[in-house]
Point group: C2
Chain length 201, copies 2
């Protein structure tokens, strides 16, 4: 924090670039990226605009950094040993659990990522990365079906879409500490592989 900002009774302590990013993501998610100005951001962070520019060149740089964080978390899961070795189905199970865990850990960042519509360069980049992520999972679903690991009749492309839809829908309602979400990664994985409402017996 600069001395200048410190003298202004900051509303929120600023720990540098990381916490500015956190503030910015919260504003983007609340107001929408397009509707958020650098004034809004510096006000929310409790620092001057010039202090803000010390860390980030502007609004789009913040968006880019936020989207990078969400994407590196998600792609990180695909690189984990349990996601790269083993049967396709076991790898998928690991990935689903990992995706949900990233979504819980980086909730505001993933929320922002999922709302991106492609209006800026960074948004288009993020959309392309999301597509690449989904394509890797769709390929793995196809592999699992081809290997006979999945019950006959499951259409890989549709299954991949429903999988992505189910996992991503969690950002709509999940909040840290929400009751009944202690084992969310396992619970979502079970819903994917056994059903949300599996019949007894």
């Amino acid at each position: 924090m600069t001395t200048e900002a410190a003298g202004r009774r900051v509303r929120r302590p600023s720990g540098g670039a990381a916490s500015l990013l956190e503030v910015a993501v919260a504003e983007f998610n609340t107001r929408g990226y397009d509707a958020t100005s650098m004034e809004d951001l510096s006000r929310a962070a409790g620092i001057t605009k010039s202090s803000f520019y010390h860390h980030f060149t502007g609004k789009e740089a913040l968006l880019r950094a936020a989207l990078e964080r969400a994407l590196s978390g998600l792609f990180g899961v695909l690189d984990e040993p349990a996601a790269t070795t083993g049967t396709p189905l076991a790898r998928l199970r690991h990935i689903v659990r990992g995706q949900v865990a990233v979504l819980q850990r980086d909730l505001p960042y993933v929320t922002l990522l999922l709302r991106v519509r492609g209006n800026t360069e960074s948004e288009r980049w993020a959309l392309a990365r999301r597509r690449a992520f989904d394509a890797q999972i769709a390929a793995l679903v196809k592999e699992a079906v081809a290997a006979g690991e999945i019950r006959p009749g499951v259409e890989p492309a549709l299954a991949a879409r429903l999988l992505s839809g189910l996992v991503n829908s969690v950002v709509e309602w999940y909040r840290p500490g929400r009751p009944g979400t202690a084992n969310l990664p396992d619970d979502v994985a079970r819903a994917v592989f056994e059903g949300i409402l599996p019949a007894a017996g």
Copy 2:
């Protein structure tokens, strides 16, 4: 269509209130409700603003009519005989299939409904109706669990959220005539009750 509008080489034929609603919903979904003006709407419909006001008192009346259409479709499913009689699990299966069918039939209307955030009176009304719809389904899930129809370990509230998330996610990618979606209601129901990726054997 008024004679005045007919003389203006309309871009799109207007069949009265119904087709104006269709045009408005498309604009709301593309631009966002808040960003859409009556000018945008009359331009898109190819009629004058005064012709537009002949059918609807304003933008919010259009929003309300569109949300009513989506909600009456969805609540209509809950009133069907197969949704009100039989075991909770059978009723849920019917409802899931019906929900997906409504979503396919009234895609733009349901899309609009699912994007509502509560900024206007009509939006708050729609959000309350959505919550009532979800609550009815959550109650039915609870009944199915209590009746022992669902495999042990499924937490009703979480299952209801995942169910709603999975079904609603379909609006993100479904488009009429999309290959592989001929049996979408059955396919989504199967995903809900047997798993998106059920293991073979």
